[in-house]
């Protein structure tokens, strides 16, 4: 029974020698049996399925991995965009476009509320006038805003007295008077005022700060110029020696010297500014700390630096701070890093005590109405006499939506020279008479049809000289040369007489001469003036230099990809050669070659890159070279181990015994088998090259002559707080690229080498 296997319902297979019996154990006669395939001819049947190659098989496996396919498709789209966008988008990203800086992103028409090129300004002090019915009079908007620009005043928020606390390193204006003793008496010799325009802490990392400021004298009868001193305020020690906040220390002695007077300022405040005074805060502080005048604890904390004004014996004293600026450098003289620069905070001038008013038109004060309610804030200005009057301009803080595109590309008043006018007159587009001036401007019908005239109205015409390039007899530009030798500090000649003068970018400077011309101030349609046919859309906005971010990001991506692909190609070629020699020959050759790679991989790549960059300049080529120097080691070691794997296989041995030489063994037998693994590891190298380029560029050590993704992000990082989209777009593209490359590469690896599946 055990040996009987059912094939069909009524057919049995018997093992020789057994007795035939049915399911119930009864014997079965021989004639009930028939031989299977007795008269058939048996031969191999041709495969009905198609033979598959390793590559096709791998491709099929890859196709089953949906996430990898998606990654591959997105990657393809990014590649295509990187190739197409830099050519297809018309904006110029190589030159500085002053009028189009920091425009927000715009994809939909203005007013759609999302991605439409408008910026929401929150709590901005915007001076405007109100109509009689209390609505906003758009025609009286100041600060260059027009009705077109301001789409929607969201809300006029509560206004309160205070100083606009802007993170900036410089400020303007600031006016203080001492009219009465804060204690109430008439003796003003003890009265003083303090203001702290600078708020920062100095310990940092050896950063150096200088404060530059200009003081002014008020020509006002009954007022004298006070004494002033430079002070610090911060954590200090009181009389008992306890640590207390807000202790004041003098950094300089009191002085009534304001420096030499400079030209008189023609403003509401009859103030004469003096020459600017620059103080080195670090030196002053160090001096005071060494002489124990200031305890060390002060500079270990945040502190403010400012002025203290002391009245002279006279009754009234007026002090005017014209402008101030705080500059910081690192100890080596470089610009401060972004985070350190953000620490600096210059505040407008004024304190709560005494009769001090802020004259920088930013102080907002509630105006009490007769019924006790509060109205919109008054816009305080300083009159020529002492009084402060609120002008009829309201300056409330409000939130609103501003169309930055109409601000940049709408009608603007600008001044330019008359060459364009001459061209239009010759073409018959406009009628204009320089002798008559603004009133004679008229656009002809031909001009209206041509759509080329960008001026709508002439406001002012001025006779002015203009620089024009000097041209030689054959029409070529003449370049500036040095008249005599220029020497450096050591007395070495840097520039010989007759050498071309070069600008900071190394380009020759064109020689110019003055020619007579007219400067015309006109109302201009900006987008036409800038050479656009219609109002431009910047999908990703523009950066601080007016570059279209969409084009900029994708040309950065192109640079990064080109770099990565070039480096990966080099790595594959060189790595395979190196690895196959090392792996195929083995023995001493392998040992020596391995030691060389050991030493090379021991040198930190960042040092190597920095060294090459400092030697030959931060160009793309040098950067690619420095990446190539060490990154082929990975491919080489993969190739080597693959060669070790296949070198001693039987089929290789068989080929060898048949007389195959090394090249045939390498190129026909070993390499094709190893290729899948090697190529996959090289594909995975592309994102790592992009990553290291981005990282180095991000910290300022990368490519400087081309725009890579890392550099764009590094620029975006600097303005992260004000224009976040300038970082978000390149960052998202970068992240997408990395994710897709990893998905794609992992899928490829799993497909080529299924045994590695799942291992990360």
């Amino acid at each position: 029974m055990n040996d009987v296997k059912t094939i069909n319902n009524n057919q049995f297979v018997y093992i020789a020698g057994d007795k035939a019996c049915d399911d119930f154990g009864n014997s079965v006669s021989d004639d009930k049996f028939l031989f299977v395939q007795q008269d058939k001819k048996l031969h191999d049947v041709k495969f009905t399925t198609k033979p598959t190659t390793f590559l096709k098989d791998a491709l099929k496996r890859f196709g089953k991995n949906k996430s990898s396919v998606t990654g591959g498709i997105i990657l393809g789209v990014l590649f295509l965009l990187a190739i197409i966008v830099p050519f297809a988008v018309p904006f110029n990203i190589t030159k500085l476009n002053n009028y189009e800086t920091n425009l927000p992103m715009k994809l939909f028409p203005t007013g759609s509320g999302f991605w439409d090129g408008t910026t929401k300004l929150v709590n901005q002090a915007l001076p405007y006038k109100l109509n009689d019915d209390g609505s906003i009079n758009y025609e009286k908007l100041e600060d260059g805003y027009t009705q077109d620009d301001v789409k929607d005043v969201v809300k006029i928020s509560d206004v309160s007295k205070g100083y606009v606390d802007v993170a900036t390193t410089s400020g303007q204006g600031g006016y203080a008077t001492i009219d009465k003793d804060p204690a109430g008496g008439n003796d003003l010799s003890n009265a003083f005022l303090c203001c702290y325009p600078f708020d920062f802490d100095i310990v940092g990392s050896g950063n150096k700060y200088t404060a530059t400021f200009t003081l002014g004298t008020r020509e006002q009868t009954g007022y004298t110029t006070p004494n002033w001193a430079f002070i610090v305020r911060g954590k200090g020690l009181n009389d008992k020696g306890d640590e207390v906040d807000n202790i004041r220390y003098l950094l300089t002695d009191y002085s009534d010297d304001y420096g030499k007077e400079v030209e008189k300022e023609d403003s509401l405040m009859t103030v004469t500014p003096h020459e600017s005074i620059t103080l080195n805060i670090n030196d002053l502080l160090n001096e005071k700390i060494q002489s124990k005048a200031i305890p060390n604890i002060l500079i270990e904390n945040k502190f403010s630096v400012g002025f203290q004004i002391k009245a002279k014996d006279d009754y009234r004293t007026a002090f005017y701070l014209h402008d101030f600026e705080l500059r910081g450098t690192t100890s080596s003289g470089n610009a401060l890093s972004g985070s350190a620069a953000r620490e600096l905070k210059a505040r407008s001038f004024g304190t709560k005590n005494s009769s001090v008013r802020d004259a920088n038109a930013m102080v907002l004060e509630k105006q009490k109405m007769q019924d006790g309610s509060t109205n919109n804030a008054k816009y305080w200005t300083q009159n020529s006499d002492l009084s402060f009057t609120s002008s009829d301009t309201y300056s409330a803080k409000c939130s609103m939506r501003v169309d930055r595109y109409s601000q940049a590309y709408g009608i603007k008043s600008i001044t330019f020279f008359n060459d364009k006018f001459d061209e239009w007159i010759n073409k018959g587009y406009i009628e204009y008479d320089y002798n008559v001036g603004a009133k004679s401007f008229k656009i002809t019908d031909k001009g209206k049809q041509s759509q080329e005239v960008y001026v709508t109205e002439v406001e002012k015409q001025q006779y002015q000289e203009k620089d024009e390039d000097v041209v030689d007899a054959s029409g070529n530009k003449v370049y500036k040369t040095y008249d005599s030798d220029v020497k450096d500090d050591y007395g070495n000649v840097i520039h010989k007489a007759g050498d071309f003068v070069l600008d900071s970018k190394g380009n020759k400077v064109v020689l110019t001469h003055k020619v007579p011309a007219y400067a015309l101030t006109c109302k201009t349609i900006m987008y036409k003036y800038l050479g656009y046919k219609s109002m431009p859309y910047h999908i990703f906005g523009t950066d601080g230099q007016g570059r279209d971010m969409f084009k900029y990001v994708f040309s950065g991506l192109r640079t990064s990809l080109l770099l990565a692909v070039a480096v990966a190609a080099f790595n594959i070629i060189f790595g395979i050669i190196w690895g196959s020699i090392s792996g195929y020959f083995g023995g001493t050759t392998d040992l020596i070659m391995e030691r060389i790679t050991d030493v090379l991989s021991g040198i930190p790549s960042i040092i190597l890159m920095t060294a090459l960059t400092l030697l030959w300049g931060p160009t793309t080529f040098v950067f690619a070279l420095s990446l190539c120097l060490t990154s082929w080691i990975g491919t080489a070691s993969t190739t080597r181990s693959q060669f070790y794997r296949y070198r001693d296989r039987e089929y290789v041995l068989a080929s060898k015994t048949l007389g195959a030489r090394s090249p045939r063994l390498i190129f026909r037998h070993i390499l094709p088998n190893a290729m899948g693994t090697i190529v996959t590891s090289s594909v995975l190298m592309i994102p790592s090259v992009i990553f290291s380029e981005a990282t180095l560029s991000y910290i300022g050590l990368g490519i400087k002559n081309a725009d890579s993704l890392g550099r764009i992000m590094s620029d975006g990082q600097k303005v992260l707080s004000s224009y976040p989209y300038q970082l978000i777009f390149p960052a998202v593209i970068m992240a997408l690229l990395m994710i897709c490359f990893n998905l794609f590469g992992n899928g490829l690896r799993d497909a080529v080498n299924p045994s590695l599946k799942g291992s990360e």
Binding site: D201, V203, G204, S205, G206, E300, N301, K302, T330, S331, S332, G333, N334, S337, G338, S339, A340, R342, E343, Y490, V599, G602, I603, P604, I606, I607, L608, T610, A611, L614, L615, P687, F691, A694, T695, Y698, I699, G700, L701, M713, G716, Q717, L720, S721, P724, L727, I728, A731, M734, A735, M738, I739, F741, N742, L743, G758, S759, E760
Partner: protein, 350 residues
């Protein structure tokens, strides 16, 4: 067989090799940076003079009372108030190298900073800053390892279920996105939009509080947690599908008993060394983070010293980073043997 245990012999060999590698790397770096354009001298004439005098004491420069035409270009010349002339010339690089070695081996003198904090000892600058770098990284590791481990276990135990797919997708994203993108976005969200976290490291040590650690630690953690999750998941999945675990189940152990007693322990073998490897990775990668967040650590110092061409500080920084890397590598290799005594790293094949 000698009586010294294998592990001791092996460690001893490795430590010698480590010192040798450090020496070779630093030598190469020394020559590399010495052929670069020179250090920048800053400050006024007396400051430059004292810098040059210092270089003479260190053995990098020589000074002569008159101009020596045959020695190449004069680096700096100075006339002191008494009218004495000093002309400074660079020594050949190989002599500078020996002087540098002599300074280190005889007096433990690694030179002084020339630009970042002029005249203060390079080694002191490093040790002032190493604390904050290490503390941030250690905190990040302490937070990231358990989290990554937990997520990895969750993903592995729910293999091919929705929760695994969600976790794997998140892991994929955070592994791919560079850490400087993450910190920038975190800064944007928490510092600039909601204004609940500080946007920079306080520059005085007194003002440092827990809040300051949140963003940099979080920025490191995202990537680290993701890679731990992925690694733990892969390891655990592999162990879970192994035959000894099947045997354990057939013998009647519950799934949780299997996981806790057998799978987890075995999957730990490659993970423990990975923790150390990860630590070195983020330590050396922290220079971007330190730059962005203004953390006064050795990563930021590295970048600053390159930018300021302060080679002495750079060399010490390099030495410290290299040694940390090599030591971690050593501990990593040794820990294999401790976690799984069957593994003898570096032993000859039987």
């Amino acid at each position: 067989m000698s009586k010294i245990p294998y592990i001791v012999r092996y460690s001893f060999k490795r430590i010698l090799l480590l010192l040798f590698s450090t020496f070779v790397i630093l030598t190469i770096v020394f020559f590399l940076i010495k052929v670069l354009p020179g250090e920048t001298m800053i400050g006024n004439e007396p400051a430059k003079f004292s810098y040059c005098e210092n270089q003479v004491t260190l053995g990098y420069f020589v000074s002569y009372p008159q101009e020596m035409k045959n020695l190449g270009t004069c680096v700096f010349n100075y006339t002191d108030p008494n009218g004495l002339q000093y002309f400074f010339y660079k020594k050949p690089i190989i002599l500078q190298y020996f002087a540098w070695l002599k300074g280190i081996f005889t007096q433990w003198n690694w030179g002084v900073s020339s630009a970042l904090q002029p005249e203060s000892s390079a080694i002191r600058i490093i040790f002032e800053r190493i604390g904050v770098t290490v503390s941030i990284n250690v905190i990040a590791i302490v937070i990231a390892v358990p989290l990554g481990f937990i997520f990895g276990i969750i993903a592995a135990l729910n293999k091919n279920k929705p929760i695994d797919h969600v976790l794997s997708t998140i892991v994929m994203i955070f592994i791919s996105v560079p850490s400087f993108v993450i910190i920038s976005l975190l800064l944007l969200i928490f510092s600039y939009t909601f204004r609940i976290l500080p946007n920079t490291w306080p520059s005085s040590s007194a003002a440092i509080s827990v809040v300051n650690y949140i963003l940099p630690v979080a920025a490191i953690c995202f990537g680290t947690v993701a890679s731990f999750t992925r690694y733990t998941r892969a390891e655990l999945c592999e162990v879970m599908s192994s035959e000894f675990l099947l045997l354990a189940r057939t013998k009647g152990l519950t799934k949780s008993q299997c996981v806790v007693r057998h799978a987890l322990r075995n999957s730990l073998v490659p993970i423990v060394p990975m923790i150390i490897g990860e630590f070195v990775g983020i330590l050396s990668g922290s220079f971007v983070l330190e730059g962005i967040y203004g953390i006064p650590g050795i990563g930021g110092l590295f970048v600053n010293s390159i930018n300021a061409k302060d080679w002495n500080v750079l060399l010490v920084d390099m030495a410290v980073t290299t040694i940390i890397g090599l030591v971690a590598n050593l501990i990593c290799d040794l820990s294999y043997g401790i976690v799984d005594p069957r593994i003898r790293m570096g032993a000859k094949a039987a």
